[in-house]
Amino acid sequence: AQKVTQAQTEISVVEKEDVTLDCVYETRDTTYYLFWYKQPPSGELVFLIRRNSFDEQNEISGRYSWNFQKSTSSFNFTITASQVVDSAVYFCATNRDDKIIFGKGTRLHILP
């Protein structure tokens, strides 16, 4: 069955430091999607990225980058030069049929 593990429950870093959020997934499917979402203190879920399992290229978007490694079933997320506004809960997810399967989330505190 599909499962997403985010081993880091909570992380605190000082502003401007780089931080990596780990995500390990399990899936029985050969084709699947991986996602990252951000939940800021205001509560809404903000979509960050969706990656198809066929596309193992790493992606960079501004200060955000994602490292997809199929060999280790990992889809890690790095924030470079973190800012206080990055403080949020971050969820990694995969899909099972029509459902998105979320990990438990990593609460990230960026300290000024």
Binding site: V4, Y33, Y37, S42, G43, E44, L45, F47, R50, F91, A93, N95, D97, D98, K99, I100, I101, F102, G103, K104, G105
Partner: protein, 115 residues
């Protein structure tokens, strides 16, 4: 284009009472989903509508939860009677069609507190 909207944003009710949550998907989106996150746990799928039909309701926790999507537009999720363990954030999401079922746009959520 307006996003997914949910009402209310926050609801506080007593155990045993009834609460109805509403979700308005993005206009034209056939697929509508309900998810919830209870305290400290992961966000979990509840059910999936395709238009007005329930495609998958495997995540509904028990028969105290009733979801409807009359006319295939907005959806309601009723909890009756509410229990303490129902407290959490209820998210609604929508996607345009089956080909884009993974492009789910989430609403801001409804925070439900049962006291």
């Amino acid at each position: 284009e307006a996003g997914v909207t949910q009402f209310p944003s926050h609801s506080v009710i007593e155990k045993g009472q009834t609460v109805t949550l509403r979700c308005d998907p993005i206009s034209g989106h056939d697929n509508l989903y309900w998810y919830r996150r209870v305290m400290g746990k992961e966000i979990k799928f509840l059910l999936h509508f395709v238009k007005e039909s329930k495609q998958d309701e495997s995540g509904m926790p028990n028969n105290r939860f009733l979801a409807e999507r009359t006319g295939g537009t907005y959806s309601t999720l009723k909890v009756q009677p509410a229990e303490l363990e129902d407290s959490g954030v209820y998210f609604c999401a929508s996607s345009q069609d089956w080909a884009r079922v993974y492009e789910q746009y989430f609403g801001p959520g409804t925070r439900l507190t049962v006291t």
